[in-house]
């Protein structure tokens, strides 16, 4: 049970793919101009992660070291293509925004890393949980960065939510009383925003570490290589 909890904490926080492992930065930086875009890409990535992890875990008995990476890439590429097709068919409006970036999920090293170091050694259920946790961690980072950039850059929040959830959600959009600072939604803003988030994450992690070391008398922060 403790192991499962560790997997979740690892994926969402301690080894957050975007903020700690710094994997998948290409889609992360490119797409996070608004919160909704970030959320949508996060959900798509999570779906691919879970499916990849489960598939890899199912065939882990048959895996051959030499063919490992080829097989992983094949699986990931096929699943992303399927997600791309389905999103185009059933979430068409959103696909217009994300269209270019869904194929980019293929380049998200976080997925390959999960398949390689995690899913290929765990049972299907645990692998799915790992995929879900890592995906959730990635989604949280995307939402945070997207929200931050949207507020600063456009002065809005939740713009375009109706594209994701249906027309009833168009009213949720918040309009803040300023026009926004343009640079936040431009590419440099993505780097500034990500840097701020990583700094914040490190700050919070250090504070927590300070608490736990003082109580548990741990001299060294544990280095986790997952």
């Amino acid at each position: 049970m403790n192991d499962l909890k560790n997997i979740v904490v690892d994926g969402v926080w301690r080894n957050n793919p975007a903020l700690v492992q710094l994997l998948g930065l290409c889609p992360l930086l490119a797409i996070t101009s608004t919160l909704v875009n970030g959320l949508a890409l996060g959900l798509a990535t999570t779906a691919v992660l879970i499916a990849t992890n489960m598939t890899v875990s199912m065939i882990r008995g048959a895996l051959v070291p030499a063919a490992r990476i080829v097989v992983f890439v094949l699986i990931i590429a096929s699943l992303v293509t399927i997600v791309d097709l389905l999103a185009n068919a059933y979430l068409h409006e959103l696909h217009q925004t994300l269209g270019l970036f869904i194929p980019l999920i293929v380049t998200n090293c976080a997925i390959l890393a999960q398949a390689e170091v995690f899913a290929s050694r765990r049972s299907v259920g645990v692998a799915a949980l790992g995929g879900l946790s890592t995906g959730a961690g990635f989604t949280v980072a995307l939402i945070a960065l997207g929200g931050l950039r949207e507020i600063i850059g456009q002065g809005t929040l939740f713009a375009g939510l109706d594209q994701l959830l249906g027309a009833g959600f168009a009213d949720i959009q918040l309009e803040l009383p300023f026009n926004g600072i343009l640079i936040a939604v431009m590419p440099p803003g993505a780097f500034f925003g990500l840097a701020m988030l990583i700094a914040l994450k490190n700050h919070l992690a250090r504070n927590r570490q300070g608490l736990s070391t003082s109580t548990a008398q741990q001299a060294q922060p544990e280095d986790r290589l997952t």
Binding site: I59, A62, L63, V64, P65, A66, A67, V70, V71, L74, I75, A77, S78, T81, I82, L85, L86, N88, A89, Y90, H92, Q96, G180, L182, V185, M186
Partner: protein, 220 residues
């Protein structure tokens, strides 16, 4: 035993099997989704077309009235561009050009320009562009009303010589912070009007007189 070692054989079998399964799944989801994707694409196109021409103004199948025309100087592209021809009860109503304004600030601006048979503009929309966010993107109808300023204009109102932005002593409003972008759009609309003036008879002659004829519907 001679021959390839067991590991290699296993690797080949595994990759082949996975590739086969993946091919089946991808093909399957394509089969499931491609009709709906095509419908979405058509609906989106029609939606866009109806932004520059009121849907009650015509009664033919607009999305299927596509013709290809080419004029590097006036329509902005060396490749053929799409024109959709609207008719009502067989009579010509308007032509909708997917013109290109080649001299945007960051490259070509793709426009959809509706021109009524009497040579007035029924509407203009930007379909895609790479102008500066926050400045040049005011040409998008979602960002500002600037693009609506073309509605009802023609080469005689304002006079052809005044088809320029106010910054260049023309009739059209300038956009704060962006000079190149509106200039490119105004020029493109003007040129498309000129093209229409010269070619409108052949455009409508080529159009099927009734919506029932759909020889142009060769969508892949």
């Amino acid at each position: 035993m001679a021959g390839p070692d067991l590991q290699t054989v296993r690797a080949i079998v595994l990759i082949t099997a996975i590739a086969a399964v993946a091919a089946v799944l991808v093909t399957g989801s394509y089969e499931v989704s491609h009709e709906r994707i095509e419908e979405n694409r058509q609906a989106r196109l029609l939606d866009m077309l109806h932004q520059v021409l009121d849907s009650s103004a015509h009664d033919n199948e607009l999305a299927q009235s596509r013709q290809a025309v080419q004029d590097l100087e006036l329509l902005g592209s060396a490749d053929p561009i799409d024109v959709y021809v609207a008719t009502r009860e067989g009579r010509p109503v308007a032509a909708l050009f997917s013109s290109i304004a080649p001299r945007g600030y960051h490259g070509p601006i793709h426009l959809l320009i509706g021109i009524a048979y009497d040579e007035t503009v029924t509407g203009v929309r930007v379909t895609s562009h790479t102008e500066t966010p926050g400045l040049g993107d005011a040409i998008e109808s979602q960002k500002s009303d600037w693009i609506l300023g073309f509605d009802g204009t023609s080469l005689s109102s304002p006079p052809a010589d005044d088809w320029a932005v106010s910054r260049d002593d023309g009739w059209f409003d300038a956009i704060t912070g962006a000079t190149v972008t509106p200039r490119a759009v105004v020029t493109s609309v003007k040129n498309t009007l000129l093209y229409f003036q010269q070619h409108k008879d052949e455009l409508f002659r080529a159009a099927p007189s009734n919506g029932s004829d759909s020889s142009e519907t060769t969508d892949e």
